[in-house]
Amino acid sequence: MIGRLAVVLVGASALSLLIGDGFIGTAPWPVITDIRLPRILLAVLVGGGLGLSGAVLQGVLRNPLADPGLLGVTGSAGLGAVVVFYWGLAASFAPALPLGGLAGAVAGTACLMLFAGRTPSGPSLILAGVAVSAVAGALLTLALTLAPNPFALAEVTFWLLGGLENRTLFHVALAAPPILLGAAILLRLGPGLDALSLGEDTAASLGVPVARTLMLAAAGTALAAGAGASVAGGIGFVGLVVPHLLRARMGERPSAILPAAFLAGACLLLAADTLLRLLPWVLPLSQSPPLGALTALFGTPFLVAIARRMAP
């Protein structure tokens, strides 16, 4: 499965290099290296980070509804970006936007750790995440209502919906280290997640440091999904749906799906983004629809199919 996903990912990336906005074929070299390549690399990194952190969070919280957005870190990244917009920093200095997102994600993670306390349990981590989400959401709405001009408002809203267009290698360089570091942390949690499927007491009796595992899962998610959100905005659903897709094929042992979740998330987001670039070909659109909307539209049929199979 992992091998097949890797082949699919490499093939899709190569094909995607040949697909421009509304046309297929080669293009001048700078178009490929400066426009298409960063977009593909970001789709792979962001999608992979979301898929993997979704799989780890669902495992560690024993909850099939968990999603990287649950911890409020992606929401905080959005807030950071909006604050940058609000002060008009983005207009004068382009990298300010992802940097603001990253700062927001870091602040959100700090709040999460503070709220969850030193020895969190699953429910206390979820509640801390909901609290961070609520605060970030409230401040974001506040910033939007206070936005200096309607143009900024439209731009911010569009950014929040998520997308990969007009990203450069700077965005890749900014997002890659935290996402890869987060992924490295998350991939090591496998045995702990397996033990946690029998509950926190049993996991502790098997020698798994439960609070530490929860903290590492939260930190890894903050890095992998928070950095993704700070360069790509809020892309939903990848983290929720990818683990379910894999469980249906690879069995339900939480550690079994971890590396595959990175690859599958990368494939899903890359496919969605490539399709997005092909869309002007078939539909006359003034502006391409947000990537987050497409991932949700893509993912829902799979989720419904899985839910129907689960029903007794």
Partner: protein, 226 residues
């Protein structure tokens, strides 16, 4: 190796265990009995090091089975038993196969744990504890959800396990199973150990603890298998 001396556990305003001293002994099957809320589960959790201010024992030597063990995911019975190897950090298959065989769930090895009965699930969870090959077993209600024959099977297995030199501590509501299979019966009430007796002398105290009469009952009863 593990044990409690003059241990007290409080949870908010309630004192769950008061001044309890208890040590599991190798080669002995001990039953913890008492009314609901007497502190049996808390005593077991304290022994397993799962409460604040308790010592976490070596997980390769002590296995703990909680009262209502469930799996969040649809693992197969074999995958559940394999979790018992996590403390050792190895993937040895013989202990897992042996545990599945001992607990009578070999035939279900590739069946998902959420597609089997409550009693079969209980035995799969027990197989997880056996797969660890520990020195001490701490088992909370291992016979809950089991039919009478399966309950005798499991108690017989625990009896034989104790006879090989392991320390086995079980929380049991079925007093008759405790008196029939255990070496030692510990009676708890309101967080205190009321009596710690050889099983063959425990009936009068156990009856008094529950406020029930005891004596010979001429009605024919189910007996354990030979």
């Amino acid at each position: 190796m593990i044990g409690l001396t003059h241990h007290t556990v409080t949870l908010g305003p309630r004192t769950i265990l008061r001044d309890v001293t208890f040590t599991p002994r190798p080669g002995e099957l001990t039953a913890l009995c008492g009314p609901n809320g007497a502190g049996k589960t808390t005593l077991l959790r304290a022994l397993a090091g799962l409460l604040p201010h308790t010592i976490h024992p070596d997980p390769t030597r002590v296995a703990y089975l909680p009262q209502s063990a469930r799996s969040a995911w649809g693992l197969t019975v074999r995958q559940v038993a394999e979790l018992g190897r996590i403390p050792h950090g190895d993937r040895r298959t013989e202990p897992v196969d042996r545990a599945l065989h001992l607990c009578g769930v070999e035939a279900l090895r590739d069946t998902r744990i959420d597609r089997i009965s409550g009693g079969e699930m209980r035995r799969a969870m027990l197989a997880r504890a056996f797969a660890t090959e520990p020195e001490v077993f701490l088992l909370d209600e291992p016979t809950a959800d089991l039919d009478p024959a399966a309950a005798h099977d499991v108690m017989g297995l625990l009896r034989r396990t104790a006879d090989t030199g392991k320390a086995v501590v079980v929380v049991l509501h079925a007093i008759d199973l405790a008196l029939r299979y255990a070496d030692r019966v510990v009676l708890l009430r309101d967080g205190r150990i009321e009596a710690d007796l050889p099983a063959n002398q425990a009936l009068p105290n156990a009856a008094a603890l529950f406020g029930l009469p005891y004596g010979l009952d001429p009605t024919p009863r189910l007996l354990p298998p030979d």
